[in-house]
């Protein structure tokens, strides 16, 4: 039985990261932007797990747990900010957020 080469995992991870980046740059709804950022973080997780098994070192796997925890905390804060903005503006389009500029 042949195993899947490490580079394939890394390519998938890079693709996911790119998709996430494009999502952040293209989409205008903060929820979707946020989901794209989560996709980028998960691409990082995939890379960490792959490299961890490839290098036979536990650092990467521990790092994945830290990233997951932090991402969860980020969801809490991020959604709270989005909700608070929706309460006052009834609109969360990032293009409408242009009070601060210059």
């Amino acid at each position: 039985m042949t195993t899947i080469p490490v580079s394939w995992y890394l390519i998938v991870s890079a693709l996911l990261f790119t998709i996430g980046t494009i999502g952040v740059l293209v989409r205008r709804n903060p929820l979707i932007i946020f989901m794209s950022i989560e996709l980028m973080l998960n691409a990082v997780n995939l890379a960490f797990v792959t490299l961890s098994s490839y290098l036979d070192s536990a650092d990467g796997q521990v790092f994945v747990f830290i990233v997951l925890t932090v991402a969860a905390a980020e969801v809490v804060v991020g959604l709270a900010i989005i909700v608070s903005i929706f309460r006052t503006r009834r609109n969360i389009d990032v293009d409408e957020m242009n009070l601060l500029r210059g």
């Binding site: 890394l10 990261f17 996430g20 952040v24 903060p30 932007i33 946020f34 950022i37 980028m40 973080l41 691409a43 990082v44 890379a47 960490f48 490299l51 490839y54 290098l55 036979d56 070192s57 536990a58 650092d59 990467g60 521990v62 790092f63 830290i66 990233v67 932090v70 905390a73 980020e74 804060v77 991020g78 709270a80 900010i81 989005i82 608070s84 903005i85 006052t88 503006r89 990032v94 957020m97 009070l99 601060l100 500029r101 210059g102």
Partner: protein, 587 residues
């Protein structure tokens, strides 16, 4: 694979400053619940909050400061928890800058919170300390794991603090923008870390001169050739760090966030985040990645030059003082990046000393602005600052003092800081950076001095005169409108009114002119009215401002910042630079 985990008491002692802050942050949340509750809003508390909670937070910061000094004296400077966190003098020196900024930010807070009638103070101070804790963890990180953890701890707390004034749309907007862009940057940084991990097989940094906890540094010393994986990793890491230290072209979030956030928070975060991120930047690039310096030095050089030139140029065209200071902080990040490019003990020592000086100057400047800022985030435009010297001489004097210090005039700390940084550039073999730095500093003097000139030399916009003008216009408009409606009913009266207003021939023509004036007057007022829904609160706030009775806490903060800035510029620089040189060797 089998792992054992043993943490000794010495490990805990090495992170004592962080432990103190974490403990006090939890204590504040507890005390907030116990304090007597008054006021109609459920979470609004009594007068005790404005005293007890900030005092507790300040004690926490002072406790952490004491722990830092104790570690300076008796600490062994070893890494804690198997090389994850440093307790070396470099980290401790960065703590000094971060804790100074946190202390000043806390001192500026109660008066500001009181004036803007903000509730949830327990959370405010707890988050303040949590952000400080994250910054210290980031500055002391000797592993990519701790680095990421510290970065996120400080960011998560600051997202909330930036959006803390929920009644102000610009504050919410600042929180949102900071949140989205900062987490975007974190993802880049993290991907860079993953690739570097793949290239080197470890996430630990590794210490110089010892093989106790081998890390990236040891790997690169043995294999100095750069692989593709490593290069991409370093590139992504650079992007992430450039975002965090707000280097151009990744600075777009800085002015928005600094302008929208509450001024005391800006005072704290503009210094603390910068100090922590730059120390981490310097440690990762100038120490850990030093063996492959040829691969990243040119990129950081370009970043430094772009940031110095661009930051100063963009600051020239700003009308809002908070925004101007934000761009000035971008420019200062550019100066600091010189230290990263130069590297070595002198470059790193210059960064550390500069950060300490910058902490007092920038926190002081934003602290002075915190006394002027209104609920709708107005009050900091250059128009509003005109003639401040005649209205509130002391505040104008302090603000001018800090601005002159930031511009780099001699008696204040800014001069000594810039001197050592440029000296390091010359010594490190980068005379071109010295030249660009000095030229852009001269450029920078223009906008600082223009703000000072506005405060001291230009007369204040005559508020009373304007009010008179408006009331006159309204009266005329009223007369004209009545004339316009009434002419058929009472021709002579309307004609009389119109001749009285503009000397126009017929009543209808006079009415048309008057109505136009009225329309202009109302459109001129309309945006202001839209921006400030709570007009009554605005008015009382205005009254408090006009009374020019600043809270004693604000005076204390301004005085301490000025004293620190002056001492760092005159009495202490030689001793502190000496200390910084020793500290830089341990990073």
């Amino acid at each position: 694979m089998s792992f054992t985990y043993i943490a000794s008491a010495a490990d805990w002692a090495r992170i004592a400053p962080e432990l103190v802050l974490a403990g006090v942050a939890l204590l504040i949340l507890l005390v907030d619940l116990l304090l007597p509750q008054t006021g109609a809003v459920p979470r609004e508390r009594g007068a005790a909050n404005f005293f007890v909670l900030p005092l507790l937070a300040l004690l926490g910061v002072l406790g952490a400061l004491a722990a830092t000094i104790v570690l300076f004296v008796v600490g062994d400077g070893q890494r804690a928890f198997f090389g994850l966190v440093g307790s070396d003098w470099g980290s401790l020196y960065a703590y000094l800058a971060i804790l100074s900024a946190a202390g000043l930010g806390i001192i500026f807070s109660p008066a500001y919170l009181k004036r803007l009638k903000l509730v949830h103070q327990g959370e405010y101070y707890a988050l303040f300390l949590a952000a400080t804790l994250g910054m210290m963890l980031l500055a002391a990180a000797t592993s990519f794991m701790t680095l990421f953890l510290g970065l996120e701890t400080l960011s998560l707390a600051l997202y909330i603090l930036c959006g803390f004034v929920t009644r102000r749309q610009s504050s919410q907007e600042a929180g949102m923008k900071y949140f989205l862009l900062s987490s975007f940057a974190s993802a880049f940084l993290l991907y860079g870390v993953a690739l570097i991990y793949g290239a080197t097989g470890t996430t630990r940094f590794g210490a110089r001169g010892t093989s106790a906890f081998p890390g990236v540094l040891q790997f690169l010393q043995v294999h100095p050739q750069s692989t593709t994986l490593l290069l991409i990793g370093i590139g992504l890491l650079t992007v992430g760090f450039a975002f965090k230290v707000s280097a151009i072209p990744f600075q777009m979030w800085t002015p928005d966030v600094y302008e929208g956030a509450p001024a005391p928070v800006t005072a704290f975060m503009s210094v603390g985040t910068k100090a922590a991120a730059l120390v981490a930047f310097a440690r990762v690039f100038a120490v850990v990645l030093a063996p492959v310096a040829a691969d990243w030095q040119a990129v950081v050089w370009v970043l430094a030059v772009l940031t110095m030139v661009g930051g100063n140029l963009l600051a020239l065209v700003q009308r809002n003082a908070k925004r101007l200071l934000a761009y000035s902080s971008v420019a200062h990040a550019g100066y600091l990046l010189i230290g990263v490019v130069v590297g070595g003990a002198t470059g790193l020592a210059a960064i550390l000393f500069y950060l300490l000086c910058y902490a007092f100057l920038n926190a002081g400047a934003f602290g002075a602005l915190s006394a002027l800022e209104r609920l709708d985030n107005s009050g900091c435009d250059r128009e509003d600052l005109r003639g401040l010297w005649f209205r509130r001489p002391w505040l104008a004097g302090f603000l001018a003092f800090f601005l002159l210090g930031l511009a780099g005039f001699p008696p204040m700390a800014g001069f000594a800081a810039k001197y050592y940084l440029f000296f390091a550039a010359l010594q490190g073999g980068h005379p071109e950076l010295l030249l660009i730095g000095v030229l852009t500093s001269v450029l920078g003097m223009y906008y600082y001095l223009r703000l000072i000139a506005a405060m001291f030399m230009e007369p204040a916009r005559e508020a009373q005169e304007e009010a008179l003008e408006v009331s006159l216009a309204l009266a005329v408009a009223g007369a004209g409108a009545s004339a316009g409606v009434a002419p058929r009913v009472s021709g002579p009266l309307g004609r009389a009114a119109s001749t009285r207003t503009g000397g126009a021939g017929t009543g209808t023509a006079g009415a048309a002119v008057a109505v136009k004036t009225a329309a202009q007057a109302t459109t001129k007022r309309a945006p202001a009215a839209q921006q400030a829904p709570e007009t009554r609160e605005q008015a009382t706030e205005e009254g408090a401002l006009a009374g020019s009775s600043l809270s004693w806490t604000t005076w204390l903060g301004l005085g301490l910042a000025a004293l620190g800035a002056l001492a760092l510029g005159t009495v202490l620089p030689f001793w502190l630079v000496d200390l910084a040189l020793k500290a830089a060797g341990t990073l």
